[in-house]
């Protein structure tokens, strides 16, 4: 039988003392338990807790000091929150919340610690091995490409060094010493392994505004994407470049495990009707995970978007099917440079959808729409079904008439999603929908439409002080419109902008209500 592996994050203070007492007393710590000593349970982020599961741990225990006995005061409380969030996340993933535990001990409670350790080991053996097959155990598929080939693919040589890209780059405009054209010339010169180039390649927002402005039509975002994939084949990716301790990349890689049975629809409200025989599938996206991760800090509630999307489908008498074991579409893995695992996710999703005999996939997430609709095909996976954005479905349905909207007592402005905004056929869709709403006022921001500013991050990569500056700028633009409600079309725009509003000095000044367009429609639509 394969050996069980249990990670024990052990606080220096109370429990470590108790643990050492056990060692001194000659008590055999179960061999499954791998102890990692930490200064305080509050030190261990959700990313680290989850990382253990990504690496295939069968159980994770974080063990600290009793409430009221934490050396630093709040560590135990912090750990309680982190543990709860992590348990929710592994529950969504179908790994089983019981695999994650928090316990607390005083220094003289070695007997209790012993009981806890043996008890946890026994319970885990009842649960069985973790279904996660660590992606890190599988080989990275090297493309065999060179930087030169990537340059050639996007005809980067045609760059005229005119500088329009830098002049339009939101990062450069927020004060960062950052220039797409310099990155290009650095790579052309063969400096692609330099630390600075690596950092710059990963800092790009891939918002595409430079491509928009480029007279030579250099597709900088896709060039960056492929460069990331290339660079990450040969080096350890992510160190300090992936915010939140690389949690999201970790989460997505974990989803490549074939044996996990995700549970991502378990939160679904009762009023929503789905049809297991439908040929239409609603693809939800990772919102439930985002909520589990961010709820404590930012009160993010992006599953509402999914619920509202489904309500809208029901409203128009569509009862879609849901993909029980839906995985992430892979957008963020691809765009953070991990094509290998992106491909794994893509194949898993497509196989599952095809097995169900689905003809149409509807999604409300711009990234899922972009990825399943375009990238799968480009990467050699033919979906065999059509992908429609919810807005297109709505516009079509509403256009037929007989619906109306309740008044919305807000002045609104709209934050474009980069992934939708750069696609010809849907650029005006959200605006058409907004025009139908009964709002007090709709005012575009200073930079909107094709010039729209990114929400500050893409693919959970390269967030920093400049991202914040850019976001603050964007929020200020929203306030300048005189609006009191910011309408978004991507759950991540909400997350990132909300993050920027967290500021000790100007929190009240930046604060602005946000709602997704889908929710705004769902909550006001009614039959005439």
């Amino acid at each position: 039988m394969e050996e069980y592996k249990i990670i024990l994050f052990l606080c220096n203070w109370g429990p470590h003392t108790a643990y050492q007492q056990l060692q001194d007393d000659g008590y055999q710590i179960p061999s499954e338990v791998k102890m990692i000593r930490i200064p305080c349970t509050g030190r261990i982020s959700k990313a680290l807790l989850f990382k253990a599961f990504e690496m295939g741990a069968d159980g994770v225990a974080i063990v600290g000091c009793n409430s009221g006995a934490c050396r630093y005061g709040s560590g135990t409380l912090k750990a309680e929150n982190n543990t709860e969030d992590t348990r929710n996340i592994i529950d969504l993933l179908g790994i089983g919340r019981e695999r994650m535990r928090l316990a607390t001990f005083l220094p003289d409670e070695s007997e209790a610690l012993k009981k806890f350790l043996t008890g946890f080991c026994e319970d885990l053996k009842q649960l069985g091995k973790s279904p996660v097959q660590p992606a890190g155990l599988q080989p990275v598929e090297a493309s065999g490409e060179s930087a030169q080939q990537v340059i050639a693919r996007y005809d980067v040589y045609s760059c005229q060094d005119c500088g329009k890209c830098t002049a339009s780059c939101p990062l450069a405009l927020s004060g960062k010493a950052y220039s797409p054209r310099n990155i290009v010339s650095d790579i052309i010169r063969g400096n692609d392994t330099a630390e600075k180039v690596y950092a710059d390649v990963h800092a790009c927002l891939t918002c595409g505004i430079c491509h928009e402005r480029c007279p030579s039509d250099v597709n900088f975002p896709e060039f960056i994407r492929d460069m990331r994939c290339l660079l990450n084949q040969t080096r350890v990716s992510g160190e300090r470049i992936q915010p939140h301790g690389g949690f999201f990349q970790s989460l997505m890689r974990t989803m490549t495990s074939k044996d996990i049975r995700p549970n991502r629809w378990k939160w679904l409200p009762k009023d929503i009707q789905v049809d297991p025989d439908s040929k239409i599938l609603f693809f939800g996206g990772c919102a439930p995970y985002f909520d589990a991760f961010f709820k404590k800090h930012q009160q993010v509630n992006t599953v509402d978007i999914l619920a509202d999307a489904l309500r809208l489908l029901n409203f128009f008498d569509v009862r879609p099917r849901l993909l029980e074991m839906e995985r992430c579409c892979g957008h963020d893995l691809l765009w953070s440079g991990d094509r290998t695992n992106f491909m794994r996710l893509a194949k898993l999703n497509v196989e599952m959808i095809q097995d169900l005999g689905i003809e149409t996939v509807i999604t409300a997430c711009p990234e899922c729409y972009h990825t399943i609709g375009l990238e799968y095909e480009k990467n050699g996976i033919s979906p065999g079904f059509t992908v429609t954005h919810l807005y297109a479905f709505l516009e079509n349905a509403i256009h037929k008439g007989a619906v109306t909207f309740k008044p919305i007592p807000h002045r609104i402005t709209y934050q474009d999603s980069c992934r939708m905004n750069r696609r010809e056929e849907i650029i005006d869709l959200p605006r058409k929908l907004i025009q139908r709403l009964a709002v007090e006022q709709f005012q575009e921001m200073k930079d909107s439409g094709r010039s729209s500013l990114c929400c500050g991050n893409c693919a959970w990569t390269g967030c920093d002080a400049y991202s914040k500056a850019l976001q603050v700028k964007r929020i200020r633009q929203a306030h300048e419109t005189g609006s009191d409600l910011l309408v978004t079309s991507c759950p991540k725009c909400q997350i990132h902008l909300r993050c920027a509003m967290e500021d000790p000095f100007q929190e009240t000044e930046l604060k602005m209500e946000m709602i997704d367009l889908t929710s705004l429609i769902a909550r006001t639509i009614c039959w005439e």
Binding site: I29, R37, G42, N66, G73, E239, R240
Partner: protein, 1117 residues
């Protein structure tokens, strides 16, 4: 009027109570030399008392562990534990304190607390308080066990040879028979013989008698000696000592001669033993019954001595008158141990008749086989063991024996078992009969003439020597032969040049020296007849004297020390009555006609039972098992002596009145509560702080108080060079938990990593020799990264409650003033994580061992240097408030010479404040805002319509001021009153700190509520906290403090919100936002900020994010 004392700059703290510890810690922080004295040996155990548990639920010993370890590591603090305070006296420089440092027999500098001594100690009763080695586990402070020794056990004291009876009883009980036998042989070279025929004065002295009966020590000895016969393979062969050139002759191979010869041979001398008889053994062979001492036993013992290097020259009579000179020419010294072979006579009529013979004379003839049978009716006159021995021997060759005893039957001095044995074998005893003459016919003996006796008046020893019964008729008893067995007299040899004393024995001085140079004498030839064991003792002692006189060596007498005044444990009523095991004997019918050994010896079961009856009077038996397992480390020192010293100090703080003799005087600082008051741990701590403050004030305005402004800088931590050149040091902790060859192989195999330039396994890293070896290797081999596999789990300074004396000692020595940076070391608790598994699961242990080391070698490459920040400090203090406590704080601080700003809101401060030139008092001043931290507080003050900002380094807040004045760590952040609550079970959010402190470094409370001591004491406590918090020189890089990457920081403020110590501030960045900055001086390394940071901007150089990620990867993949 008395001249004021000119006080020494030193403090003695008596009593390691929480008060004493608090005072010691604070004085230590101020750099004042302290001597801490307590009667307990282990601070950790002492402070674990339930009544001292903090409100958080943590016992004081764990909560304050970093402080306790700081005390041990502070070179200015001396801990004298355990010790007794004999006297305290006032003198002109303060006090003189007479202390007795009690013996622990373990050197705390050397002890690695591996626990092997406690493991091998045979004195291991279930009740830990009765164990000889008190081993409180690895948390002990100081980290060493204590050996409990009492005065010399009576068995050992009464043994002429000083054989460690308690020791071998304990070893035998533990089944360590070879060790037990070796322990006997250290003092007694004839264990098989003494195990049979010794008069066992040890048993006579045995305290078990007070419970039931003496322990059968001799029988156990015999069992052990016989064990060698049964299991020769388990007993090491005797080896002569290192050869020396000296040659000695011993004349006589009786007990004294043998003991001496063996002792000389043991020390490497060449020894020849001369004896006139054909076989060696002297009286042992020619005087003792075979049924008591089988000759194969004697031969085996002689054989053993021979193997030690002693040469026997037999059938070689030495004429003391003529031969000495010749032998002297060939040797460096001679010992005469010819014994006393003349039978003593009664001195009555007819003693010369044919048929009357002395005991020895007869036995001599018998053992030379001149007589084989004696089928006659014989009398044996005498009642000692020899008489019975003779009687039983005679009976075995066919005689009809009657023993005529002077004493009454119940008082016969021979051993009870002898009497019983003789009677069983059909020997008649006529008691209370004194022989007053021998009657004969034709010169041949026919009758004994006798009278009756009765017991006389008991003498000083309680022996009622018989006296003739008045009026007793003279009566006769008819026998064919009579044997006198009433002892021996006089030497056998003619004297020659030797001086002979009046009794006919050889004359010697107190050191066995005869009148002839280099000729010594010992044994019965000097002292007259004695017992085997006495003769052996004298023989051995004489040999020791010869070794000293003639070779200049002090014999290896154990240099053990025992506290003479420490009495044996009381014999409690809990000891059950257990009868002594009788010696099994051959049945009389089966033995009486042959010379088979009568006593059959104990079985394993008998020995187990009998040895557990031993009361282990001396507690530690000095069996030396502990010293042997510790030999590589050398921490066990049985020779440690009790030391009484007189310590001088300017100030004495009494923290535990029980430990100090009473002393009057206002300048004696008392840090304890009246005995009637309720125990309040926080009050105790504050009392300690207050005592330290009073001490500081008594010592006068000291140089360590800084004034004005200054910087405390961090001398650059030795920067660590480029990765590469890894040295691996693995400590096997004296193999106390075991060790595998594969571990050695694995460590050697590490050389296959190209970056590993050194890999070694050491016996112990934490002893001085271990540390210096590491430092030397690091220097010699240019090691830039180090992997230390020992019990040390982190390279940091006292950051958790699991640190031990050994760990901190090793770290302290390795990183203090050696130029070796903590930053370049990866430490792994190999002991706990791998070696502790060896006992039950070797594979698992080996797996962990390899895993930990291979990960360490890898992570060594990722180590980064520590930062070296500089901080500004303002050395002025502010006291805000007008309460009694606040006033006392200000006065106390002013007495140290600090510059003080005092703020009172309503009232005029008392005059005593006004008298201090270094207090500036702001009257009717409204401090309305307080911000900043240690070294740089900002106070916004309104006085008389003037608004001003004042800067100070430290602040003491009165309770009303605390409630009223809002505090913000940084200007512009929302302010709120400072929290003052102490940690409480179940109530999260409050970090641990001591009463009077707050979570804000440098901000103290003059009268924290809820603590039951006077406001004066509280105020003084706050003052010492403020005085001690100021830096007095360069600081040390903590190594674990958080660093924030400015480029990555989004200025969200989560870190500042989560930091319990206000270590994080937000600084403006170049693009209109801010980045957070962690002040190295306040960060305590909890890392809560790291886990909330959304962009990984915050990280610690020690065990950083990538360390955790890599560790997980390597453990799991």
């Amino acid at each position: 009027m008395k001249r004021p004392k000119d006080r020494l700059h030193k403090v003695i703290v008596i009593g390691a109570t929480p008060s004493g510890i608090a005072a010691t810690n604070k004085l230590g922080e101020l750099g004042i030399p302290v001597t801490l004295v307590d009667a307990d040996a282990d601070l950790n155990q002492k402070l674990a008392r339930e009544e001292w548990r903090l409100t958080s639920g943590i016992t004081f010993n764990y909560a304050h562990r970093p402080g306790l370890i700081r005390i041990l590591r502070n070179s200015r603090i001396e801990c004298i534990l355990p010790a007794r305070v004999e006297a305290i006296k006032h003198n002109q420089q303060g006090f003189s304190v007479t202390l007795t440092r009690q013996q622990t027999f373990v050197d705390d500098e050397k002890c690695i607390l591996c626990g092997r001594c406690a493991e091998v100690c045979p004195i291991n009763p279930a009740d830990p308080s009765e164990k000889a080695i008190k081993f409180n586990g690895r948390f002990s402070l100081p980290g060493r066990p204590v050996i409990d020794k009492r005065r010399l056990p009576l068995c050992r004291e009464n043994c002429p040879l000083g054989v460690n009876a308690q020791g071998y009883m304990a070893l035998a009980k533990a089944g360590k028979y070879p060790e037990a036998l070796a322990l006997i042989r250290e003092k007694n070279i004839l264990p098989g013989i003494c195990g049979r025929i010794c008069t066992h004065p040890c048993e006579t002295a045995c305290r078990r008698e007070q419970v039931d009966e003496a322990v059968s020590i001799r029988a156990v000895k015999r069992f052990l000696a016989d064990y060698e016969t049964r299991h020769p393979e388990n007993i090491p062969k005797p080896t002569p000592g290192a050869m020396r050139k000296e040659r000695f002759a011993v004349i006589g191979s009786g007990p004294a001669g043998l003991a001496a010869a063996a002792q000389l041979a043991q020390h490497g001398c060449q020894v020849k033993v001369y004896d006139q008889e054909e076989k060696a053994g002297g009286l042992l062979r020619y005087g003792i019954g075979i049924h008591r001492l089988p000759r194969e036993i004697l031969d085996a013992e002689l054989n053993y001595i021979e193997k030690m290097g002693v040469e026997f020259i037999l059938s070689h009579p030495v004429n003391l008158a003529e031969d000495l000179e010749r032998i002297q020419e060939e040797t460096d010294g001679i010992l005469i141990a010819t014994g006393s072979w003349q039978d003593r006579k009664l001195g009555v009529e007819g003693e010369d008749l044919e048929g009357v013979e002395g005991c020895l004379s007869f036995l001599n003839r018998f053992y030379r086989e001149e007589i084989k049978k004696l089928k006659e009716k014989v009398a044996v006159i005498g009642d000692g063991n020899a008489a019975f021995d003779l009687a039983r021997t005679l009976s075995r060759i066919g005689a009809d024996v009657t023993l005529v005893s002077w004493f009454g039957k119940e008082n016969i001095p021979a051993d009870a078992e002898e009497i019983k044995g003789a009677m069983e074998e059909g020997i008649a005893i006529i008691d209370q009969t004194q022989v007053i003459g021998f009657e004969g016919e034709s010169g041949y003996f026919r009758k004994l003439r006798c009278i009756r006796t009765k017991p006389g008046k008991p003498d000083a020893n309680g022996i009622a020597w018989p006296i003739p019964m008045e009026e007793s008729p003279v009566f006769t008893l008819a026998f064919e032969k009579a044997f006198l067995a009433i002892g021996q007299t006089g030497p056998r040899m003619p004297e020659g040049g030797l001086s002979i004393n009046a009794f006919g024995y050889i004359d010697t001085d107190d050191h066995f020296r005869t009148s002839l140079k280099k000729i010594y004498a010992a044994g019965d030839a000097v002292s007259g007849p004695s017992t085997v064991v006495q003769a052996m003792a004298r023989g051995r002692d004489a040999a020791d004297r010869m070794l000293l006189d003639l070779c200049g060596i002090r014999s290896s007498e154990t240099s053990c020390c025992r506290p003479a005044e420490k009495d044996f444990p009381e014999i409690g009523s809990h000891i059950p009555v257990q009868q002594r095991t009788p010696m099994p004997e051959k049945r009389a019918v089966k033995r009486k006609n042959n010379f088979d050994e009568v006593a059959q010896g104990f079985t394993d079961v008998d020995v187990a039972y009998e040895t557990q009856r031993c009361l282990q009077c001396g507690v530690c038996a000095e069996c030396m098992q502990c010293a042997e397992v510790c030999s590589a480390v050398g921490a066990v020192c049985h020779g440690e002596k009790e030391q009484t010293t007189v310590e001088h100090a300017g100030v004495v703080i009494i923290a535990d009145p029980q430990l100090a003799p009473s002393i009057r005087g206002e300048d004696v600082i008392r840090a304890y509560a009246p005995s009637s008051s309720r125990v309040d741990i926080y009050a105790m701590i504050m009392r300690g702080f207050s005592a330290a403050a009073q001490a500081m004030a008594l010592l006068g305005s000291p140089s360590f108080i800084q004034k004005g402004h200054g910087v405390s800088f961090l001398p650059p931590d030795p920067a660590i060079s480029e990765p590469g050149r890894v040295g691996v040091f693995v400590c096997n902790c004296n193999r106390s938990l075991g060790w595998l060859d594969e571990m050695d192989e694995y460590v050697q195999g590490l050389y296959n990593n190209k970056e590993v330039v050194h890999a070694e396994v050491m016996t112990s890293a934490c002893v001085p020799e271990g540390v210096s070896a590491i430092i030397k290797t690091v220097r010699d081999k240019g090691i830039t990264r180090m992997v230390l596999g020992s019990c040390v789990c982190c390279s940091m300074d006292f950051i958790c409650s699991a640190c031990t004396d050994q760990r901190s000692r090793l770290k302290h020595k390795l990183f203090t003033a050696t130029g070796i940076s903590r930053a370049m070391v990866v430490t792994r608790n190999i002991r706990g994580e791998a070696l502790s598994l060896l006992e039950k699961d070797e594979d698992h242990a080996l797996l962990n061992f390899k895993g930990l080391l291979s990960r360490s070698v890898k992570s060594a490459q990722n180590l980064k240097s520590f930062s070296s920040p500089v901080r500004n400090y303002n050395f002025a203090a502010a006291v805000i408030g007008e309460s009694e406590a606040a006033v006392h704080s200000a006065v106390m601080l002013a007495r140290t010479g600090m510059d003080i700003f005092m703020f009172t809101k309503n009232v005029q401060p008392p005059n005593e404040i006004m008298d201090f030139p270094n207090i500036h008092c702001f009257v009717k001043a409204d401090v309305h805002c307080l911000s900043g931290t240690l070294g740089d507080f900002k106070l916004d003050v309104r006085t008389n319509e003037i608004e001003q900002s004042l800067h100070v380094g430290t602040v003491i807040l009165g309770e009303n001021s605390r409630k009223r004045i809002g505090y913000a760590c940084q200007d512009g952040m929302p302010n709120r009153p400072v929290a003052c609550a102490m940690q409480k079970k179940g109530d999260p959010g409050i970090p641990q700190f001591y009463p009077g402190m707050t979570s804000i470094a440098g901000l103290f409370l003059a009268n924290p509520p809820g603590i039951l001591i006077s406001n004066k004491r509280k105020g003084e406590a706050a003052a010492i906290l403020a005085a001690a918090v100021m830096p007095r020189g360069p600081r040390k890089s903590k190594g674990y403090t958080v660093f924030v990457n400015q480029g990555l920081c989004r200025g969200c403020g989560r870190c500042a919100a989560v930091c319990p110590y206000q270590a994080v501030t937000l600084q403006p960045n170049a693009i209109g936002g801010w980045h957070s900055k962690v002040d190295e001086a306040f960060c305590k390394g909890c890392g809560n900020c790291i886990s909330v940071c959304p962009t990984n901007a915050a990280d610690s150089p020690y065990r950083n994010q990538s360390f955790f990620e890599k560790t997980l990867e390597e453990i799991l993949l």
